[in-house]
């Protein structure tokens, strides 16, 4: 099992971000390195890439407020 984590270097201070959208539903099979979801902080949007290949489970849905380092899903 690999956690899907908001990378610490996605932005560089302690502001909160928001998950704009997931590009997969829970239960979808995903491949390492492809875009899993879009995260926005202020008005800047970034792509979050899959850390592994496997079956995705979403923990934090779209619209959730997230912090750097937070677990928002996992890939099994």
């Amino acid at each position: 099992m690999t956690d899907v984590i908001v990378p610490n270097d996605m932005w560089d201070d302690d502001r909160e971000g928001v998950i704009v959208s997931w590009l997969y539903l829970s239960g979808a099979s995903v491949t390492e390195g492809e875009v899993l979801c879009e995260v926005m902080v202020e008005k800047a949007q970034s792509d979050l890439l899959s850390p592994a290949s496997g079956i995705l489970t979403i923990v934090e849905e779209a619209d959730a407020i997230v912090s750097r380092g937070q677990v928002i899903g996992r890939v099994d």
Binding site: V20, Y24, L25, T31, E34, K43, A62
Partner: protein
């Protein structure tokens, strides 16, 4: 890549642009802030890094200049994609659009093609004021010489973009800002996101999609208003058991009048929802296309839900009142059916 991914409209359209650029060296993008910023509404996000400044061209704020330039490039055999973030500013380049891009194929008796795409950002709902919130599709659709597409979801956005770039005709590709699914305008509308195949595919111009089948009334929407129709239909079904058929024309020009007529023949009622100004516009055109063929198929007067021909207010509550929202569609249907 997996086939289970669900894309936003902006991402799906961009994927088509990227594929065409990788496979056809004559395709290039130009417009304000496309190279350094990826387009105001993300239409060219990331393309600058991949294709460089010679194929993703930042232009000055000179719409007449760069749309004229693109038209010339298209006449010479290139396939330019022009980004104009706000449809509101077609006014400053109307000659290039209406008298150059839309006419040279006709004026040359077809000897010159205009394989050019004009991407326009359109629509309101963000307190951007009267000069940055208009829809204006009908202003363009009034004139001959251009194809106009207005996707409502990611699957159509990709297929229509491939079709637009490959077409030898001048195509206006209208991206509804609220439908694009970019974070700074709020989280994407759920029904605008769709499963999108990795491989390229095209959607033919002039072919409507039946979003849902129904028997009591036909709703016709464009892009964002398709989703307002879906939300209104859900409430009408839940509260009153009304069965709504929803038609998404997908392309405004050419318009699939046959699909609309067929649907109204079945339901006997028609409501058209459009974000543009009501008078002399799309809503009236759709209705005319039905009644001039056979007015007897209508069981009730047709209904228009559009901007009531007022300039779009800056104030949020006032702007919400002029938008063709699900609430307005719901209320208009309730009044029509006497529920």
């Amino acid at each position: 890549m997996s086939s289970e991914r669900i894309l936003t409209v902006a991402r799906a359209g961009r994927e088509a642009v990227m594929w065409e650029m990788e496979n056809d060296p004559s395709v290039f993008v130009l417009g304000e802030d496309v190279f350094t910023f990826g387009g105001v509404f993300g239409t060219a996000d990331g393309l600058g890094e991949i294709f460089g400044p010679e194929r993703i061209l930042d232009t000055p704020i000179s719409e007449t200049g760069f749309i004229g330039l693109a038209t010339g490039a298209a006449m010479a055999g290139m396939r330019p994609i022009v980004e104009l973030a706000f449809i509101d500013f077609i006014g400053v380049c109307f000659n290039a659009i209406a008298n150059l891009a839309a006419k040279h194929q006709y004026l040359s008796n077809g000897q010159v093609k205009i394989p050019m795409v004009l991407m326009l950002g359109a629509g309101g709902g963000y307190n951007n004021g009267a000069q940055h919130s208009q829809y204006l599709l009908s202003t363009l659709a009034h004139m001959p010489g251009m194809v106009i597409v207005a996707p409502s979801n990611a699957y159509d956005a990709k297929g229509l973009m491939h079709a637009a770039i490959r077409s030898d005709d001048f195509v206006v590709y209208v991206g509804q800002k609220k439908v694009a699914g970019i974070g700074l305008l709020g989280s994407p509308i759920k029904t605008s996101m769709a499963a999108v195949p990795d491989e390229p595919y095209t959607i033919p111009f002039g072919e409507a999609r039946i979003v849902q089948e129904g028997t009591d009334i036909t709703f016709v929407g464009v892009s964002w208003t398709v989703h307002q129709c879906i939300q209104a239909a859900e409430r009408l079904e839940a509260q009153y058991g009304v069965s709504v058929e929803i038609i998404d024309p997908r392309t405004i020009v050419p318009l699939d009048r046959e699909a609309i007529f067929k649907s109204v023949s079945k339901t006997g009622r028609l409501l058209v929802a459009d974000e543009d100004y009501q008078d002399f516009g799309f809503t009236g055109e759709v209705i005319a296309g039905v009644v001039e063929r056979d007015p007897t198929i209508l069981r009730s007067p047709p209904v228009r839900v559009a901007n009531p021909n007022v300039n779009i207010p800056f104030s949020r509550p006032m702007e919400q009142r002029v938008l063709p929202t699900a609430d307005r569609i719901f209320e208009a249907t309730v009044a029509l059916l006497g529920l």
